[in-house]
């Protein structure tokens, strides 16, 4: 299973929640599979999906899923400590860990060598850290969303590999405003 297959498998759960999606191919694949106004696509700032989702979950009550990658989490690992100390129960971090920088040509990341993001997340103080296969991810993500009392970090171990895909045609303000309209903040659209 690669990232595209996994994103397809978890579509139903994503559609019902606020989603912050990592820059590059993850966002492009998600957009291609089934674009939704409650999906915030990152067009820049690699590494910050986990942090953006954390800020969003702290500021309103709906469930938030941050879709991140192993390369991006390695770039902003300090935020796991913030999540470990501050994440509210409506926050779920889904790390799609394919051991590879997929958007830049599938160079290996350190999770394909010695680094375990599960161990890092536990050490950083995160609650309910789950490492699972791609197939198990649907079930683990459902459990995380249904649990009203705990935040979760799910590390989904899948294969590398991408599908051929175009950049997202939406402009950033469109992404911003329709997302905030979905939450009920923007009234003018």
């Amino acid at each position: 299973m690669n990232r595209f297959d996994l994103l397809n498998k978890i579509q139903k759960i994503l559609k019902e929640n606020l989603v912050i999606c990592n820059i590059g191919l993850p966002s492009q694949e998600l957009y291609k599979i089934n674009d939704q106004p409650n999906f915030f696509y990152m067009l820049g700032s690699m590494g910050l999906s986990s942090s953006i989702g954390l800020g969003l979950s702290l500021s309103q009550n709906k469930n938030v899923i941050s879709i991140d990658g192993d390369g991006s989490v390695l770039m902003n690992m300090n935020t796991l400590a913030t999540i470990g100390n501050r994440a509210p129960s409506n926050y779920t971090l889904l790390i799609i860990d394919n051991g590879s920088y997929g958007s830049t040509g599938d160079q290996r990341t350190f999770t394909d060598e010695n680094t375990s993001l599960k161990d890092v997340a536990i050490g950083a103080g995160c609650n309910n850290v789950v490492e699972c296969s791609g197939d198990e991810t649907v079930n683990e993500l459902s459990k995380a969303i249904e649990d009203q009392n705990n935040s979760f970090v799910i590390i989904s171990k899948i294969n590398s590999g991408n599908v051929k895909i175009d950049p997202i045609p939406l402009n950033p303000i469109t992404i911003r405003d329709r997302f905030r309209k979905f939450i009920g903040i923007v009234k003018y659209l």
């Binding site: 067009l43 820049g44 700032s45 910050l48 942090s51 800020g55 702290l58 950033p172 303000i173 905030r180």
Partner: protein, 166 residues
């Protein structure tokens, strides 16, 4: 505490209700005030760039965020400011302790001090430079301005303004 109380009161008056900080000794009083304030959210964060991301999320969730940091933190955050806050036009207040300005005892702070305003200018970030107590009155209007122009804005507080705020 007088200066720090005034700064926070003006930020709150400007609508800021979500605060993060990467600590600085010049921000210590403000952090104390915010930790006790039940009306707003406050947390420390390990790194400024990450704080920009959390502020972006808070804005999406209808908060008006502020990140407090040293001017060195701007150096850590340039891409997040440009490719996230400015790209999506998100209002965030940067409350900056301006290390390396006159009165600063640590020589090594001088390097970032020399280029801080140039960086902010290059990024086209509106600046409010506070060097005396009277300047603090401008903070609430300046914060509201961030929302009007949908942009991050920077408030720079000089070393000498903050250093004796016991």
């Amino acid at each position: 505490m007088k200066i720090s109380k005034k700064i926070i009161a003006n930020l709150k008056e400007g609508g800021v209700d979500f605060y993060l900080s990467v600590p600085c000794k010049l921000l210590a009083n403000m952090i104390d005030i915010l930790e006790k304030d039940k009306d707003v959210y406050y947390s420390a964060v390990p790194r400024e760039e990450e704080g920009m991301g959390i502020c972006a999320g808070a804005y999406l969730g209808n908060k008006f965020p502020c990140i407090m940091m040293q001017n060195t933190g701007i150096g850590n955050s340039v891409n997040a400011i440009v490719s996230l806050l400015q790209l999506y036009q998100m209002p965030v207040v940067f409350l900056i302790s301006y290390r390396g300005t006159p009165g600063e005892p640590v020589g090594a702070q001088g390097g970032m001090a020399k280029i801080t305003e140039d960086i902010l200018q290059t990024l086209r970030i509106p600046m409010l430079h506070c060097s005396s107590e009277n300047d603090l009155e401008k903070i609430s209007t300046f914060s509201k301005h961030a929302k009007v122009v949908e942009s991050p804005v920077a408030i720079l507080c000089d070393f000498n303004l903050m250093k004796d705020d016991k």
